[in-house]
Amino acid sequence: MDSDTLLARARELDNQALAQIHDLYYPAIYRYVNYRLDDPQLVEDIAAEVFVRLLDSFHRRPGDVRDVRAWLFGTASHLVFDTLRHKYRRPVEHLEDHEAISSSDTPERTAELNERQRAVRYAIQHLTADQQQVLSLRFSLELSLEETANIMDKSVGAIKTLQFRALAALRRRLESKEVE
């Protein structure tokens, strides 16, 4: 089934087409959300909610969705921002989250790695919305410049500039954190 046919059938709430879209894009959406949020339960909820929102959009405004992939990432990005905004209002630290223990590393090395991951994630969360999204898409999901530009509805040139500035800002924030 080609993408146009798949989209057309999904608009008519065809179960099989919707399941196919879900299985095709769920891993990428999950990773995207997981990269930006610390809470695994929240990541799972948001990843699932993205597809329910797609269903709503098909049901209410079938013409709105033209590129399913871009639409899913855009919606995931909005949901993540909403969650982060809510989280900033009522900050709760869960330092024990996401501490995956690798059998090959020593406990000291694992602790150092986890600390480093938390620092980077924390620094990323203080960047602008666009900078966060471009870092997630380009360096977490490793999408191409063109794919990122399509999802963010920007030109490739704008994405190049944005990613460079995002990385420079991230570096500055990490350095300032190290100084502290």
Partner: protein
């Protein structure tokens, strides 16, 4: 280093890092910008490091899929399946407004285009006449109004010529100067008139006068004259000069023929209402002159016309035309043609005595007499503006 070059170097470094090349090795290839690239590439590596596991929990994915399937069923249970007509309506709904506007524009455009070349008897001809009436109703000076009238009169003549060439039978109405050629054939413009014997006397009275004619076009191209009447013009305004054979009203010189009906010759400074015919050479010759205010019954006539009733202009009581009342930009001083009842074949008993064509009333019958060649001795009036 230019930002474009730095971006190129960055992308190249990124590819090498992804391929597993150590950072120091990568940076050695770009010594001129390694200071700029190093912090950014270190940030990239930090992001990669913080990415953590790429593993997607299979259970989470299965739960999400099951939840999606439940939501689909719930929505399908609430809303019945969309049938063909609903889908058609939905797709149409988004395009309805622009489609209606487009169709309206195309429709108006096509009918406008079609009406431009429409001839009497054709479907779009009323559209053409309506457009002309609208143009005439627009505010304009007396000169502009007259020019528009003449332009439309010329179109009527061209239409009759076109119908005649196409050998079509049609009842037509047109205007122009009535002339008698050396071949003793009556003409209006280039249109040759087929005149019944009983009408010839009337035509003689209207020779060289601007007239409105009604005729039946036959397949052989001849125009059988059914009726003819002089077109009357009403000049309303202040009398500026009065001479023995002419007077000037609102800047317009009007000849005073001895046959003109003059209720009370106005003096300089008075308001006057002059009904006149138009002669070859753009001269106006008075048919009736009234000074001062309009007679009271004309107010009634005007009121009647405003109520939509048709009432021919009266011979003994001139009134401004509905056009002039509606306002032509001259604020009470108008110079407009007036519709008059037809002279046709019926003439008033006194038409032999009345040598000036004039409007007729229902009470007096129809008829008028045009001044004969002698009237050319009258000084030619000239318009001051």
């Amino acid at each position: 280093m230019k930002p474009e070059d730095l971006n190129l170097a960055f992308n190249s470094c990124l590819e090498q890092l992804q391929a597993g090349v150590p950072l120091e090795t990568v940076l050695r290839k770009y010594p001129q910008c390694s200071a700029d690239l190093r912090p950014v590439l270190e940030a990239v590596m930090a992001v990669w490091e913080a990415r953590g596991s790429d593993t997607v929990p299979v259970a989470a994915m299965a739960r999400s899929r099951a939840h999606l399937a439940e939501e689909v069923q719930r929505r399908l249970a609430v809303a019945p399946p969309i049938n063909f007509w609903q889908r058609w309506y939905r797709s149409l709904r988004f395009a309805t407004v622009p489609m209606v506007i487009l169709l309206a524009v195309i429709g108006f455009g096509l009918s406008g285009l079609a009406s431009v070349k429409a001839l009497p008897g054709e479907a779009f001809y009323p559209v053409k006449l309506a457009a002309e009436r609208f143009t005439l109703s627009l505010p304009a000076s007396a000169d502009v109004r007259l020019a528009r009238e003449e332009s439309f009169d010329n179109k009527r003549l061209q239409e009759v010529e076109a119908l005649s060439e196409q050998q079509r039978e049609q009842e037509v109405e047109f205007s122009g100067f009535l002339t008698l050629g050396e071949d003793q054939v009556w003409r209006i413009g280039k249109i040759l008139l087929d005149v019944k014997p009983e009408m010839r006397q009337d035509l003689t009275a209207l020779e060289e006068v601007y007239v409105i004619a009604r005729a039946d076009l036959l397949q052989d191209g001849s125009a059988v004259l059914q009726g003819v009447e002089p077109r009357l013009y009403t000049v309303i305004g202040q009398v500026q000069q009065v001479e023995a054979t002419r007077l000037q009203v609102d800047g317009v010189w009007i000849q005073l023929a001895p046959e003109a009906v003059v209720a009370d010759l106005p003096v300089v400074g008075q308001d006057a209402v002059v009904s006149a015919v138009r002669l070859i050479g753009d001269r106006l010759q008075a048919v009736e002159i009234h000074n001062g205010k309009l007679p009271a019954q004309d107010d009634e006539a005007a009121a009647t016309e405003q109520q939509g009733e048709t009432k021919p202009a009266s011979n003994d009581s001139l009134s401004p035309t509905p056009d002039s009342k509606e306002g032509d930009g001259t604020e009470g001083h108008s110079y407009t043609p007036t519709e008059t009842p037809s002279v046709e074949q019926t003439r008033p008993p006194d038409h032999e005595e009345n040598k000036t064509p004039k409007p007729t009333s229902n009470e007096e019958g129809k008829g008028g007499k045009t001044p004969q060649p002698g009237h050319e001795e009258t000084p030619t009036p000239a318009r001051d503006h």
